[in-house]
Amino acid sequence: MIGWVVRRVAASIAIVWAVVTLTFFVIHAAPGSPFLPEQSQNVSPETIRRLVADFGLDRSLLEQYALYIRNLARGNLGESFALRRPVADALADAIPHTFVLALAALFIDFTVGLALGIYQAVRERRVGDIVLGNVALFVNSMPTFWLGLVLLLVFAQRLHGFPIGGIADPVLCPRVDSGACVLDFLWHLTLPALTLGLVGAAGTARFQRAAMLEVIRQEYVRTARAKGLGERRVWLVHALRNALLPFITLVGLAFPFLLTGAVLVETVFAWPGMGLLAVRAILQRDYYVVTGAAIVTSTMVVLGNLIADTLYAAADPRIRVRERSA
């Protein structure tokens, strides 16, 4: 088990390194420069030449790459051209925002999705199951950002129930430091979290319904019923436990969904997280912020897979037995 984990971690690091290298060379190969063209009227060619030299962009590509990797090994992610601050600081500001949003969305995703999936499985092929199944399929098929726009239109623009974007009221709550400001933050969080969470929940419900129905037909469930256990206990204790196994994979897979979904949803709601930072950096050719974002996102994807596999092995004794005998 330990050897397996070590091997997986090493492979994960190699994957992240490959993603970083790929991103580095792709953005450097793109036409254009992070700084204004030299004909620009406002900035003298002198200044631009100095900026290019300052950031080491006049050296050869391989030299720049070697320097970047050497700095990376020391934990230095470079400096942002546009923000004039270390990339690590910019990421450290953005990551908590995305993380909170992802956590809230995951919470909605899993609670709503699980409840819906179990309910649908219990009411299989009856009206409730069919109606909810079609609604879930429809919500799951929406472009996430479009659902965000519709929620904004209805709840913020028409009903004035929610703010139209941002993370907190900039005048009353520049920093979250009081009870009222925590409420303000949650108020701002509701719509973006709902957008991501509902689309995810629709997928989770479909998945969970299928998993429950697969389990409920097995013989140990018949045994449980034959013992005289009530339906509630059969479904919620005996069936649910085994039906939760594939759900663990879903937890791991939810990581990339939340991060990629977050790119668009953060743009819609002006949520200052990783997605917004990455999109702006790409548009501004802010090389090291882009590679920094690539490091963070690919690490999250790899980590999600790793956690899912490890949890799976921990939760299912049958997998461990197979590992040992192999």
């Binding site: 793109a30 799951n140 472009p143 790119v263 743009t267 050719r285 690919s298 994807v301």
Partner: protein, 308 residues
């Protein structure tokens, strides 16, 4: 909308019904065909797909205006849906319904073509890795690991944004090139078990080379997972195109795609919600139909998975 547009629209619905009926009649001959139509959402899903494909093909007949035509830029911006403009007009005074009909060509076309690219690469890589195993397999699957670790929209944004506006065929190619990783894993798993079967040994024994064995004997037997993931994948591509176009990096305006129609309508969404909501509804509806058909296909083609 004049009378002839309505007649054409009705004709499109009838044509879609005819297509579904024809497919159902042919499907009755096979076990998996019957199983496909036993799935409750299969026929409605197929109908929605056939309907939108018909509209895309017959766009000049069902659309009263040209998709680029600015009807009256001074007086007709953001006009509410009416009998004349059934889905209203957008901020540039263009008929939303006409753009939706012509946009179906671009959105569905990008979905289908990008998926074709992705499936071809995915099947080729997966079959090569699974058939030759050893270092070929290791190298290709590590490449797939890297591809899967990079969020697709992020990778596409980097390329599209940095190279500036990109022609639609290149966009299709790029979306396809970033979409084959998961498919290749599926195909590889299938090929790994197929290559041990007797008919493959028989083919090799009569002197067939690896290329012939893979293309003529192995891949046809691995078609089921490829078809299913293609059906589900087209929906994904359409959502991706919508997202990219929304950020202004997909299909360049004024060509109508359902994604950039949402982006065009966005600035006036508060006063004229129709120009951004209807294309989003169209995307949701088509993706839903694709998912429904994909589910039914999986149940029909993969007997190991019990239909639930």
């Amino acid at each position: 909308m004049n009378v002839w547009n309505w007649v054409a629209l009705g004709g499109a619905a009838v044509a879609a019904l005819v297509v579904v009926a024809a497919v159902r009649r042919r499907a009755r001959a096979s076990v998996s065909g019957r199983r496909f139509f036993r799935h409750p959402t299969a026929a409605p899903g197929l109908f929605v797909l056939a309907f939108f494909v018909t509209i895309a093909l017959a766009a000049p007949l069902v659309a009263p205006y040209q998709p680029y035509e600015q009807i009256d830029i001074d007086h007709l911006q953001n006009d509410a849906p009416s009998t004349r403009y059934i889905l209203g007009t957008d901020p540039f005074s263009r008929d939303v319904w006409s753009r939706l009909a012509y946009g179906a060509r671009i959105s569905l076309g990008i979905g289908a073509l990008a998926m074709l690219v992705a499936m071809t690469i995915g099947a080729a890589v997966g079959a090569t890795a699974g058939y030759f195993r050893r270092w070929v397999d290791t190298a290709l699957m590590r490449l797939v690991d890297v591809g899967l670790a990079m969020p697709r929209i992020f990778a596409l944004l980097v390329v599209v944004a940095l190279w500036g506006h990109i022609a639609v065929p290149v966009l299709v190619l790029l979306i396809g090139l970033t979409g084959w990783f998961a498919t290749s894993r599926l195909v590889r798993a299938e090929v790994l078990s197929l290559r041990e079967r007797e008919f493959v040994a028989a083919a090799r024994a009569i002197g067939a080379g690896p290329g012939r064995v893979i293309v003529r004997h192995v891949l046809p037997n691995a078609a089921a997972p490829i078809i299913v993931s293609a059906a589900l994948g087209i929906g994904n591509v359409m959502l991706l195109e919508a997202g990219l176009s929304f950020l202004g990096m997909g299909v360049p305006s004024p060509a109508p795609s359902w994604g950039n129609m949402i982006a065009d309508g966005l600035p006036k969404m508060a006063v004229a919600p129709w120009s951004a909501t209807f294309p989003g509804l169209a995307i949701s509806l088509v993706v839903m139909a694709l998912n429904a058909v994909g589910d039914a296909l999986r149940d029909a083609l993969d007997p190991r998975k019990e239909a639930v």
